[in-house]
């Protein structure tokens, strides 16, 4: 499991333009999905990467959609509740690693 806090410094280096997997975003971060790829869910033999990819797409995790992380779970900040366009979705961090988000400019 990736530590979501590890990447915040990397994101700051980019300044206004930063790209982050949805699975590593923190509460309050928002952006636009730029890429959804087939990523094997952690260590699972039951579900192919392609199947997870399809399910994410069917739920509306598509390029161009707006996401914002609203809430995090109590244990290891997992799962996350995200606002996905106009609906709310709960998703585990490791299942959301294949969703890449271009973060909005942080408001001054």
């Amino acid at each position: 499991m990736n530590d979501p806090s590890a990447s915040t410094s990397a994101e700051a280096d980019f300044g206004a333009v930063a790209v982050l997997p949805l699975g590593e975003m923190r509460v309050g971060q928002a952006g636009v999905i730029v890429e959804v790829t087939a990523q094997a869910p952690g260590g699972d033999q039951n579900l192919s990467a392609e199947e997870l990819h399809q399910r994410l797409l069917e739920f509306g995790f598509v390029e161009g959609a707006h996401v914002a992380v609203l809430h995090e779970g109590a244990i290891r900040r997992d799962p996350i509740a995200v606002k996905l366009d106009d609906m709310r979705v709960g998703v585990r961090r490791r299942d959301a690693r294949g969703v890449t988000v271009l973060l909005d400019k942080p408001r001054p």
Binding site: E58, A74, D85, R88
Partner: protein
């Protein structure tokens, strides 16, 4: 002339509420994604004189089915179900305030080639939010008529019916379509098309729903949210005891009075014994728990309709994930607190086969309402009623402890299953968190009534004949003339109890307890009525005393606790075993379940009895 109509839509679109409004059928409507698991059909005659056979299909986001539930929807829509043609008309039900995903589903459904009408449900909420939908424009572009509805207020139903009527008349001439599972590129394309349609025909709400966000800030808070969830569960179980008390006293008093009335009116003999000790006390000792079951179901139904259940699954996902369970398993397991049967059936919403089997195997460990009568009886017999820390009732605390023991053992068993037998990660957790809605009181009342009727008919159909059987076993053969011991000692029940008792002696069970376990196989709560019959028949002088105070004199404290421990696991429930057989399509799993639960029950009762006995209980 009959037309077949199928209702299709996303979960939480109010599809089932619309089905009820159309057919007047008494069926469950809830806010949790994926609650409709059974095939539900109803008929209605349109103003045009056509009979419609309406099928309520499980909610889905795509025809590319992933769970057994969604497979039903796909196969019904495509006419692949054995012995059934594809429907003449599809009614696609949409939550008017949440159109994006359903638009994509509509694009998929259009490929099926059946005539379709779109019902924009919950239209009143859309209007309240100032959401503007260009209904005519959207209908033109989609190529299917659109009707706005408010299912809970029965608005738009007539218009929907006349549209279905029109389409049904022409359905024979509809060109056949061909649906193939969309690949990733096609799903992306469909989303882009849905986005375009939304931009063109839907003006975003002027007063968007901010309530859901504000409530979620509290209920999904990592610490506060969990605290509230546990406080809710705790309150639920305290309420089961305190709210139901007065009603229970009333029912108990009524049946005692009825028994006295019969005793005064009838001459002593076999018939009077049958009526008082078999029929009246048998029915009374089961009905007395109706108020508790009502309170429990009231809580579950309100939470479901409010939209809290998906949040509970979200909060519990990591905790349950630690035990190898999927967050979605929370709902089946919570339903199992009422009864394991709906719980096991609602495990169909879990996509992954192993996740689903694990959930099914541990569901009966959740304390079902049939155990409440047994717990309540033994607790009132052996646990004093007094306040603890000034605010909690000791009896309520013990009850809470028994529930906790059930939950913990379910988590432990699933952990063993996932770590020892089926290793590997669980399915992805992807779940819509629907907007909060105030539960419709009429809907809640209707569902509550339905539950009560199920309990009462069950009491009537299964429990009552068993009570009579137990009375017969306990009465015949009668004692020989001049016998010294109580009559039941000489009956079949006495013989059976005495024969099995040595096996259960190490866990402190006397032969009366052993006898009560046997009819308890039909339904756990029957054990209470069986104990009532066994003791009422055995000791005719005990009329005035309630069963609880009688037991507290007859059993040792250690035996009482051992009986409670047995019932945490108690595998006796014929209907659960039958349902597991049906859901898993094999005898293997029900047998595994029966074996592991019996072993755990014996072990727990053994440890509790020997410990309590050694400590002087």
């Amino acid at each position: 002339m009959t037309a077949r109509v199928a209702l299709v839509g996303n979960p939480n679109s109010g599809k089932t509420a619309l089905f009820n409004a159309l057919t007047g059928s008494r069926q469950k409507v809830a806010n949790y994604a994926g609650v409709t698991v059974e095939r539900k059909e109803g008929t209605i005659v349109t103003p045009g004189g056509r009979t419609l056979a309406v099928l309520d299909l499980p909610g889905t986001y795509s025809l590319r089915a992933r769970s057994p539930d969604e497979e039903v929807t796909r196969d019904a829509v495509l006419g692949r179900l054995a012995g059934e043609d594809s429907p003449d008309v599809l009614v696609c039900v949409a939550d008017a305030t949440n159109l994006r995903l359903v638009l994509r589903l509509i694009l998929e459904l259009k490929a099926v080639g059946r005539p379709m009408v779109l019902a924009l449900n919950m239209y009143d909420i859309a209007q309240r939010q100032g959401l503007r939908i260009d209904v005519d424009g959207l209908a033109g572009e989609l190529g299917c008529p659109i009707v706005t509805t408010v299912a809970t207020r029965r608005r738009g139903i007539d218009e929907l019916l006349s549209k279905v009527d029109e389409l049904a008349a022409r359905s024979r001439f509809a060109p056949a379509g061909g649906w193939t599972p969309p690949d990733a590129a096609q799903v992306r394309l469909a989303h882009r098309e849905a986005q375009r349609l939304l931009k063109t025909y839907v003006k975003p709400p002027e007063r968007p729903d901010t309530l859901t966000g504000r409530v979620d800030a509290v209920l999904l808070h990592p610490v506060l949210g969990l605290a509230i969830l546990f406080a809710l569960l705790f309150t639920m179980f305290q309420a089961v005891f305190t709210w139901a008390g007065p009603a229970q006293d009333l029912i108990e008093a009524s049946f005692t009075a009825l028994g006295e009335l019969a005793r005064a009116a009838l001459p002593a003999g076999l018939f009077r014994s049958f009526l008082i000790d078999g029929a009246i006390s048998g029915v009374g000792s089961v009905l007395v728990f109706l108020p508790q079951i009502l309170v429990l179901f009231l809580f579950i139904l309100l939470l479901e309709d409010f939209g809290y259940m998906a949040r509970a699954a979200f909060l519990m996902d990591r905790i349950m994930g630690g035990a190898g369970l999927h967050g979605r398993a929370f709902i089946p397991l919570l339903s199992s607190f009422a009864c394991a049967i709906p719980g096991i059936m609602s495990a169909r919403v879990i996509d992954n086969k192993r996740d689903r089997l694990t959930t099914i195997l541990v569901a009966p460990l959740m304390t079902c309402s049939a155990r409440i009568p047994v717990y309540a009886l033994i607790i009132s017999a052996f646990i004093p009623e007094r306040a603890v820390w000034g605010m909690f009732n000791l009896q309520g605390l013990v009850m809470f402890g028994l529930y906790a023991a059930g939950i913990l053992s379910a988590l432990a068993v699933s952990l063993v299953i996932r770590k020892v037998f089926w290793r590997g990660a669980v399915d992805p957790f992807l779940m819509e968190l629907p907007a909060y809605k105030i539960p419709d009181p009429a809907n809640v009342a209707r569902n509550l009534l339905q539950r009560v009727m199920i309990f009462v008919t069950r009491a009537g159909r299964i429990i009552f004949p068993l009570m009579i059987a137990v009375w017969l076993l306990c009465t015949f053969p009668g004692p020989p003339p001049g016998a010294a011991g109580p009559a039941i000692d000489y009956s079949f029940a006495g013989m059976l109890g005495h024969a099995l008792q040595p096996l259960l002696a190490p866990i402190g069970f006397n032969w009366q307890m052993t006898v009560a376990l046997i009819p308890g196989f039909a339904a756990r709560e029957v054990a209470v009525a069986a104990l009532g019959t066994v003791y009422a028949v055995a000791d005719p002088g005990a009329d005035g005393a309630t069963l609880a105070s009688l037991l507290s004199r007859q059993w040792s404290f250690a035996a009482g606790l051992a009986f409670l421990a047995w019932y945490i696991f108690a595998p006796q429930c014929a209907s659960t075993i039958a349902v597991v057989r049906r859901e898993t399509n094999s005898w293997r799993w029900p047998i595994v379940m029966l074996a592991y639960m019996t072993a755990l029950a014996y072990l727990a009762a053994f440890i509790v009895y020997q410990t309590a006995h050694a400590l002087g209980g």
